[in-house]
Structure formats: C-alpha cells, structure tokens
Symmetry: C2
Subunit: 170 residues, 2 copies
C-alpha cells in the first residue's frame, strides 16, 4: 500500500487554498490541502504497524510547529506546480528529518521545500496566466500545527487518513 | 465548525465502494467511503477540544468492531440513497450510543442504520435503474475495524480528519 505523512493546516487556510485549487488543481478532489512532511512510500499493512511506535515517538518528542505562509510561488521551470510557500524553519526541518531517518529512511528525489499546492498539471500557457496573477496576491499568515497525519492511497488516487499523531502527546 | 465521526473500512472495501460511488454518488469527491457513527454536529474549536477526552475514553473502553457487509440496499422511498448494508450488531450499537450520550448527546432524526453510501441524489428513474441492478450483486464481507475518526467539514463540503482514536488504546 502507498502511504504518506502530511500536516493539515487550519480550516481557514484549507478553505483559502481550496478557493484556488478548485480552479487550478487537478488533484483537488483527492486530498484536502496539506503540507507533505514525508514523501510517498510503499509498504505492507503489517510492516506499517511495526512503524507506528516510531511515528508515535517522533510526535511525542516534538512540539507543535509554527508555520508562516508568505507568498504564492511556483516550481517552474521544474514543473508547473503553483503553491502557497511555507517558510522552511527549524521545526519543519527537524520533523522532516525524523520522518526520513532510522526505520523511516527513504530515498528522496528533491530537497525539501515545504508548501501547500494550489495548482498543478497546468499547461505552460495556463501556468503563465495563473501564476502571473497569483504571484501578486498578498499572503501573510501564521499558525500553529499541533499534529500530523499518516495517510494511505486508494485505487482511485484519493487518500484516507490511517492515524493522527499529536505533537507532545504519548 | 461542523464535525462528524466515522469508521473507514479497509482499503479493499473502500475501493469496492468507490467503484460504485464514482458513477452514482454525487458526494464521491468530498469524503472517502465510510460508516457514520456520529451524526454531524456543530461546535466551536475550543468547545471541541473539551470533548476530546470523552472520545478518547470511549475508544479506550471499547474493543475493535467486527462488521459484516451483507448486501446492497436502499433507503427508498424515504430517499434515493443506495448503500452497502452493514449488519447492526451490539458493538456498533454500543459505539453509536456512547457517541450520542453524556457530553456528546445530540438530537437525531432517524434510528441508526449502519451503512456505506454508494449512491445518492439519484433521480427516481436513475435510482430505479441502478438499484434494480445493484440489489442483485452478491455481497458478503467481514472485517475488523480498530479505530474511529473525528472529521470536520470545509467550506467546499469536503471533510478533513481532525483526530484518530484507536479502540482499546489510552
């Protein structure tokens, strides 16, 4: 089964992200707005259960994370994904490192850039059009996220939550 | 904010349900296949946090629940919802009662019929057509569900998981 780990921001920030995703994100219906903190990985359900204590330990060890969303940005020219930029800070970096080491180690293709996708699979023309407008939008938002979620993917590409882990809780 | 509590069945059962929902369920994109165990309720985020210990106690007190899916049924003539019938058993009844009493008490309009919706908002003609075929499908599935999920609704009508509670865990 395919798994991943994400942070869901507040309802307010999710609603804002969805107001863009509705129009620009081909994966809008498959998962709520999120910040990926562990890349997709493949494992069996039995194997996954042996990893749960590790996820719990990480949550227990860390404190809630303050995130700052500062602007709308794009991965272009690498790809035409447009996103709410989440400033990389020590807490996010630490969480990401914990979720990719020890029994959770996995190869990752890119360096970690925390973000909330709001548009993807846009044609070059669409991207040019959309991003030239959105990069002017004034975004400035801070909030605290106190949990992360482990998800698995269904055959239709959508994601269901397997378990929630609260920071600072045993 | 609007909240609700559901069981997510196994990936296998969710994939089966989605194969129907894709065609017949207007709410297909808003939430994964699920068994509602607490009706929608409205509360503030602060208020909700005071209820979390109650949800935790309920999970801790109860054991994983065996569900049996026995056929495809319909709420017609009450409405044109078609669903995978989940046999009502003592464990489901107990969970439902716990989730609707004490600090979680709320008025409910209907008696509890556990089910996984696979079609809704069908016209009478569509319903007649769809249900006359689906009621012949041979369904016979048993599985154990070891957790429930508390969700909240976004402005676009979709649901995000707030927290997971495992049966038998503190």
């Amino acid at each position: 089964m395919k798994y991943g780990v994400v942070l869901f921001p507040s309802k307010k920030l999710q609603d804002t992200a969805n107001s863009y995703r509705k129009r620009y994100d081909s994966r809008y219906a498959l998962i709520p707005p999120h910040i990926t903190v562990k890349e997709q990985f493949e494992t069996s359900t039995d194997e996954l259960e042996t990893l749960i204590p590790t996820f719990r330990d990480i949550a227990h060890k860390l404190k809630p994370i303050t995130i700052n969303v500062t602007k709308i940005s794009s991965f272009s020219p690498a790809n035409n994904t447009v996103y709410l930029k989440v400033e990389k800070n020590d807490d996010l970096k630490t969480l990401y490192e914990h979720l990719h080491s020890g029994p959770l180690a996995q190869e990752v293709e890119y360096s970690y850039i925390p973000h909330i996708t709001i548009g993807q699979n846009l044609s070059d023309d669409e991207h040019l059009d959309v991003y030239s407008q959105l990069k002017l939008v004034d975004v400035n938002h801070e909030e605290v996220i106190d949990r992360f979620h482990l998800l698995y993917q269904l055959d239709n590409g959508s994601w269901t939550v397997y378990e929630t882990f609260r920071f600072g809780h045993e």
